[in-house]
Homo-oligomer: 481 residues x 2
């Protein structure tokens, strides 16, 4: 019998919940099925009754099961489960100069409008971030480390922060050395430096399809071209499609998010990660692996990074604390493998250094601030919020849509009926004070015209519920046209 008051107890009920979730996902337990009593579950899973209760409450919070008075727990009828998943994307095969015009800027500005229901930008809700605690650390460091801010923290950057990242990387399946890491102004700068280290203007970068619009803007800004690779909503980039693209194009680098692609929430299986890394190694093509959502897994165990399969220093791993701690601190990092020296030099020429004190505050939070505890809560909350939004969409949207099943992160990808133009929908929603991210943002060629991404980063509320009803109405109207 495992003692539940051991330090690992926090994870234990998550393990039980994870197993039951899998049973539901795999269809072993189906909507309406009664699930074992807590007492029985405690015996089955060899945990205490308390732990079993915790697991059931978590599943209830996530909308997977429901309690019926004096009867027990049942698998919920979940309308969102009945909705199809999006299919494998079919991007154009030709590389393209990216033409994002001012779509992103307009979108980002409108998403920040006060009073808006923020389903657009992929920002964590303020309430979910430990801002007060982190700022208190920053305040205290500001008072005690005066000298530190009076000089440049030149590349590779803040040593205490690099130490903490190295320590945490033990969970990545790819332990990083302190000296393999360079700190940056957010993951965005990390990506810029990695791209500049391995590609010249005019070069082609392979990206997922759909992909994060920030990648496309950055590729555009650097004068690079993008080729979009067909991507599976559950498993990530399609490797056969990538192999075909590699035969067709001279590709300078692959830029991807194997863990929880934004906007799909897909999770590339380990076997695919290995194949991806080996495929690229054969042609000496670097993989720029954006792992900003890696800590936000819904399954109990953190996914390994693709870098774990790299034996040639070709994977350039990038991360940040913008999705988990503080977007406004602008602290990110990369471990650029064999391109380390080049990235350090480019960092120097791009911004000289990252702001010193915010880095020290984050290092201190990672060391003594309870980051793991915070992440556990955050993951649970995001999983719940994604479930809530999925259910609300299932309630309010017309038939014929498809809905992603994110495995982590906090965004949802929705395919609407073909007739819906989401650029127009975006404008209509804005007039109702709702921000959404229209699909064409996520493609160099502005495909996905009938898709939207919804952010589930903010705590669920009746405002969100109403907003999604309104969206459903607008979609129905547009589809009927």
């Amino acid at each position: 019998m495992i003692h539940d008051d051991s330090p690992a107890a926090g994870l234990l009920y998550e393990k039980v919940a994870g197993k039951i979730t899998k049973l539901i996902r795999d269809g072993v337990l189906r909507p309406g099925d009664r699930i074992p009593s807590v007492r029985r579950a405690s015996r089955q899973h060899r945990v205490s009754v308390t732990t079993a209760v915790q697991a059931y409450l978590a599943l209830e919070n996530r909308g997977l099961i429901e309690a019926r008075p004096k009867s027990g727990f049942y698998v919920r009828f979940r309308r969102s489960e009945d909705i199809a998943e999006p299919r494998l994307s079919k991007p154009a095969v030709r590389a393209a100069a990216v033409g994002m015009v001012d779509l992103v800027t307009r979108f980002f500005e409108s998403a920040a409008r006060p009073g808006i229901v923020p389903l657009g930008a992929a920002l964590p809700g303020e309430e979910l971030l430990p801002t007060v605690k982190l700022n208190r650390l920053l305040a205290s460091i500001s008072r005690t480390s005066a000298g530190r801010s009076a000089s440049y923290d030149i590349p590779p950057g803040c040593a205490p922060l690099r130490r903490e990242i190295a320590r945490r990387s033990l969970d990545f399946g790819s332990p990083l050395g302190v000296d393999e890491i360079v700190t940056t102004c957010g993951a965005t700068e990390a990506l810029v430096l990695c791209l500049r280290a391995v590609a010249q203007p005019g070069d082609i970068i392979a990206v997922e399809s759909p992909t994060y619009y920030g990648f496309l803007k950055t590729i555009e800004g650097l004068g690079l071209k993008a080729v979009e690779i067909s991507t599976h909503p559950r498993d990530g980039m399609d490797l056969d499609a990538l192999a075909a693209a590699l035969r067709r194009h001279k590709i300078a680098a692959v830029l991807a998010m194997p863990s929880f692609n934004n906007p799909l929430g897909s999770l590339m299986p380990d076997e695919n990660r290995r194949r991806l890394v080996e495929l690229l190694a054969k042609k000496e093509i670097p993989l720029i692996e954006d792992d900003v959502y890696g800590d936000l897994h819904f399954e109990p165990v953190r996914p390994r990074v693709a870098r774990a399969f790299d034996r040639h220093g070709l994977v350039m791993l990038c991360g940040s604390f913008s999705k988990t701690l503080a977007p406004g601190y602008r602290v990110g990092w990369c471990a650029p493998g064999r391109f380390l020296e080049r990235v350090k030099t480019l960092k120097f020429t791009n911004t000289i250094a990252t702001a010193t004190l915010p880095q020290l505050a984050i290092a201190e939070f990672l060391k003594n601030g309870g980051y793991d505890h915070h992440l556990r809560t955050l993951r649970r909350t995001y999983a719940e919020q994604v479930q809530r939004v999925s259910e609300a969409v299932a309630e309010s949207f017309p038939p014929g849509i498809a809905l992603s099943r994110p495995r982590g992160g906090f965004v949802l990808w929705i395919e609407l009926p073909r007739a819906v133009d989401t650029l127009a929908l975006h404008e209509q929603a804005l007039r109702e004070n709702i921000s959404i991210a229209p699909g064409p943002l996520f493609s160099a060629k502005q495909q996905f015209r009938n898709c939207i991404r919804l952010s589930c980063g903010h705590p669920w509320s009746s405002r969100h519920e109403r907003a999604i009803s309104v969206l459903g109405y607008l979609v129905k109207k547009a589809a009927a046209r």
Copy 2:
């Protein structure tokens, strides 16, 4: 009679000191001359005796005059005045890909070594910066503005900071609108964004000769080429040479520091600034004006920026607070004229945003922190330190050298005898725990092999005095070889 206890009194004695300095500089008052008594000076300049005393003490601090007991004040015999100024530089006329190898990185790393006498990197001495006060503001803002750090401060960036910069720009001779400014991660990012906004890889950028090595590294990093323009040690870039270069090359932009070029300390006269701007306007070529030293003028009045003469939106003005407040805060800005929208977009793709809280802290310091008072002290101190180092060099270095006469900033440029290889000197000095900046750093073609730059950013001390004696010894030895 002017009342000296008016708010302007602080400046009043500086005005008197400035007038006397000019008389000395122009040779009206010569070494050994007795200068008027304070009583007489108070009548001549229509200020109180106290103000006259203040002025004389300031001049004494700067090493320009000396008190002889019971006799009065005399113009000092200044050995540094006897040393020639460097001549107009004669750079190669052909544009060149920049090849800085790892010179800069090696130099920068060694300059940060603990225990070193820091005559290398152009960093302000920690003791001279209001770090404690600024960090206290940051601490207080961290506690009260929690929400601000939980989102991206998207371009154009921190509005309170842009307001303060706009207010201060009234002294630039070119008032900036709040909406014309974009905040950045230091002036370095500002320059990167401006260069990227107006130049494509392979394009040619005209720079001063010598020029700041950071410019060269950035130009190299972006795949641009540099053409070096002959530069006068007092008046800055030679405009006839620039005109000739414009006829010879297709130049995409000019990148210059009209106010206190690093490393020369030159100050371009207003008339030349006007000519420069008009010359470029004819060919629609943008001028990227780096004004990071603009606030550090030794004369009483701040120089006007070249942008003041721009009527076509072609001057992209860049500044920062790294030389006056806090290098480690990484806060800079630019006013990119007609390229505003492009720079905002590039800022978004380069780092999304600048860290929020450091920007707010600097905005608060500018508003209520006594920035002007701080700058007055800093300018006086730098002027004194430059004078001290100049005198020490005059004492210790062999004959036949030339010495710049900086008009602001805090670096000194020294031409050594032809036989001296300053890359070797740099290594020798490092072994004696002294960092200097070797001349080849300041040229795309690594000219200036017999020149060095000394930083006077740190408070003068006996350590510095000894270090300069040692340098003098090393130079003599190298020259004799």
